[in-house]
Symmetry: D2
Subunit: 329 residues, 4 copies
């Protein structure tokens, strides 16, 4: 009973915030961090942490905020909590940057419902990955996107994330999807730059269509190739590093880009491999934010926060990075 009611008042207030949403640039250029979801426990937001995190990220000069993605642990969160997060984030951001809200779900109806809620709460756009349970064909995925786009009022970003969803939006599926009027961009987290190059080719005559990459290690090269920016996890804690790298790449300052790329590779090598598990990236991110005093490092099931040994290692790596002058332009 408690589960069902405690998030309700937040939900009800969603509609009132509508006016505050930021406009969506076409294309959307820059760094749009995939925000972690600060949690106190498995069904309670860390509300103060959320506020600090948003201010920390926005202070870094980012160009948008993506909530309820993989980094945001969206699939692990209850629906009421997801709605509370959307509502609070939109209110806290208050139109300073576009807010992109993940609506990915295995259930079409729940995705549509979440998109409707996000629109009412003032989100700028919705982001959708393939439904991640059944082995849908590319033709079925294209049909899925056509049906979904028709039911969703927000601009829609596709989210290619095969490591977690096991399904990819194939190039031909994207070709069909970009014909839909409210499909405005794509985030590619596959790490497959041949695929990304094909998307660049595909969108040559669509200068308004946004192409973003997920892995921060690929942010620089993707911009050199014609991409518009990235949705990069490290921007939760070092937003300015990725913002500077984006600027260096966009202005084709290759020497500066190489310098910043080395910093990005150091961050990635040192901070995301602690604990050696498939989830060490996510656990590392929350651990860093906790060490920096920004928010709690609780992770929803099936994950658990790092233990003391891993936390000490993250602290040590953070200190060594600082000694190396990272981040720093």
């Amino acid at each position: 009973m408690t589960l069902l009611s405690k998030h309700v008042d937040v939900a009800v207030t969603a509609k009132a915030c509508h006016a505050s949403g930021a406009a969506l640039p076409r294309p959307l250029r820059g760094v749009i961090p995939p925000m972690v979801t600060p949690l106190r426990d498995r069904d309670t937001l860390d509300v103060e942490g959320l506020e600090r995190l948003i201010e920390h990220i926005l202070a870094g000069g980012v160009h948008g905020l993506f909530i309820l993605g993989t980094t945001g642990e969206a699939p692990s969160l209850s629906y009421p909590l997801r709605r509370e997060l959307v509502e609070r984030t939109c209110r806290l951001v208050n139109g300073r940057v576009p807010v992109l809200a993940g609506i990915t779900d295995t259930s079409f109806v729940e995705s549509v419902r979440m998109a409707g809620f996000a629109a009412e709460a003032g989100a700028t756009a919705a982001v959708v990955a393939p439904p991640y349970h059944f082995p849908a064909s590319q033709n079925e995925l294209a049909g899925y996107l056509e049906s979904l786009a028709a039911e969703v009022s927000l601009p829609l970003f596709l989210y290619n994330m095969p490591s977690h969803t096991k399904l990819s939006f194939g190039v031909e599926t994207v070709r069909r999807a970009i014909e839909l009027p409210n499909v405005v961009g794509l985030k590619d987290s596959s790490g497959d730059m041949i695929y990304f190059q094909r998307l660049i080719s595909l969108c040559r005559n669509r200068p308004d269509f946004t192409l973003l990459v997920g892995p921060e290690e690929l942010l620089g090269e993707s911009i050199l190739l014609g991409g518009h920016g990235g949705i990069n996890g490290g921007a939760n804690f070092y937003p300015q590093l990725y913002v500077q790298l984006h600027e260096a790449a966009r202005s084709r300052n290759l020497d500066r880009l190489a310098l910043l790329q080395r910093q990005v590779m150091q961050v990635s090598a040192r901070l995301y491999g602690v604990g050696q598990s498939a989830s060490s990236y996510l656990k590392g991110l929350k651990c860093i934010l906790s060490i920096l005093g920004i928010c709690d490092d609780f992770l929803a099931e099936p994950f658990r926060r790092f233990g003391p040994a891993e936390r000490m290692q993250v602290e040590r790596e953070l200190k060594e990075l600082m000694d190396l002058g990272i981040p720093g332009g």
Copy 2:
């Protein structure tokens, strides 16, 4: 708004049905069909079809009913519809056989909530597969099950379904889970009989622990090896075939078993490969039920029902099976 409200009255009545649940035999032997979810459209149950389907299945002499599994398209359904299905099914079955309700979700909190609802509605047990998004380790999966079992009042079946969840309950994880007092059984849909043999070994001293297989092609041999039965899709339309096969295997009538196994292989070869896609099993099942006049063949996104060509092929195959005297003991 309609989405949010139309299932509500059903939900409210759930509690009243509690008394009608069937007792759970330990172990649970026999055939427990994984019921398809009859749909009129993506968020509307085919209520008459549901009633016909339940009566059709129970008339075949099955030993339980499993709803909201993969065959039931659970991940594709909205939460209100899932709740409506649980409630209506429990009421229609009315204690004649145990009802097992799937509670699998990527969100722990939603799984617990669904289990609570199922308990109130009169379900006999809950069934849980690994959370199917994040790459959890076996140690995390074992911890997940421990936390879940503590929050769920119903007896719990594990559901191993790596083709769709991408995560397996490893043998060591099962070893830890069977120590939990309300973990009472496991359904294995991996098709990996070495794994199943290991589970048989593992449970040698736990005669009350239920081991069931998913693929109907493996029902006979699994019982010969010490398994207790199956959760077999074909029992949606030919329940008596699988019930007879179960009996032949249990009574070690190997000649009769071989005869029935041939019929099962014919059903599988002819009916589940139409259309040649990864989803042809699910589409075939619903198409057969529609041809038999039992329920609608609508499938929730990302799938769509068979077109006329595939439907005609299914009709033809059904007729040829009938001409071969299948099903028939």
Copy 3:
């Protein structure tokens, strides 16, 4: 230069042994151990070990011998050594049981050449898995088998081993292959009993076609279903255990089968998991044979024999099995 010449005299003598080959029963029933290749170093046979191993295996009452399979490390051996092994084995077996020789290679020409050598050396049949480098389609695999069967004089067994070759002989490919006059059987090491059941269905009208399984854990059930026996690694050291299990299954003595199956599961659980790597089965096998004083435990690259810790664990497990009366009928 040494590499090229040291095996030559053996090769030259191959032809003389032709007369000694055993006839091939159709179907070939029973246990046909996939023999390990005893090595002194990476390119030298352990000749005395080979003789002891063959006599140890044959004394267990097996029904054939399979050399140059995965368990025989064939892909890791030089061609001259492979030829020496074929020649010596045929001479040592001397027609007491059929000798099946692996000819699998990524190169068609080398497979044909090895088959020709095996025929001259007196082997009874050749065994071929899919060429394990390029992603051939099923249609290409079927064409491959047709071309190969035309070039090979020996009876041919197909070898399905997807874990190592990454390619499977699909059911339709097998359907085409069994039409070829010298394709006489198939060994399935996939562990997928649905696939095996389909093969059983496929061969219902071909009582002369041999169906064997690889994994020893599945030997019993495969025979109950209509299979003819197994190519089981454990028969390198406990040949009589698998021979007895084969007899129990063939005579449908289900109680005795259950008893022996428990022993097989104990052997598998205790002896093949030491060291926890993907190669622990192969390393374990050779370690056991070394402990039993039968042959050297040297493994060709990329593998290495167990170190002292793993060897001690294998010794301990062997002793515990003996204390449990395993193997023993």
Copy 4:
């Protein structure tokens, strides 16, 4: 018998060519085409085609030649034919560019033997991918490379090709391998640019260590990031396109790079997808070379050349590329 003897005289002459090998630049920069192996049938070189192909490629200004790679169908060729190819190629190239010869094999001994032969024939370096049958661990792969480097006199390039070998050289394995004195470079065909960035980081203090990419779509960006060039299949028919792209990237002419990259993407999209199978790249390459009158398009088993329909499509695409001015700088 014919198989065994017909390549012999070529083999015997290998040693005499030793003096003609080109020196190996450290690092090796530029485009080093992975040459297809022109065949008349499954065990006969297209000798005239080979000569025309080599001259065609060298006329394009390439910086080396890689034979017996995946594109060269090495695993599908007999050993005598592989040796004949090495010998003829070294003689025809005659020191004009470095010749890199693939020595990958599942058998360590055969790899060493091929490396010895290549050295005698005048090859400049040897190239080795992981042994592609057994599931070796990273530690075993590192030990494998250490043993191999000790036995091989030629400079050694590692070849990362997980799509075909199923095993990758992990970053830590490469870290160990680059300590070996004759390990001089790595070709990465994984398409995983995060991995490639990690290698760039790893080799920051090893300016003599060569890093090359396989996929031609990634040639430009890899050079911008610090890579040295590519081993790109398209350079078999349009060598100058990839040479020009290499130059544009190396001189950081980003506008010209973008223009050439578009041409590369057109080539890739139009020519490598004909026939839609996993092998269409390889079949397409040989078909193009046949259309251009350079060499025969016979493919060794398990593949077959394109049929008339696919060949006509390739002709059409080639013509359309020409009409678009591709290739052209």
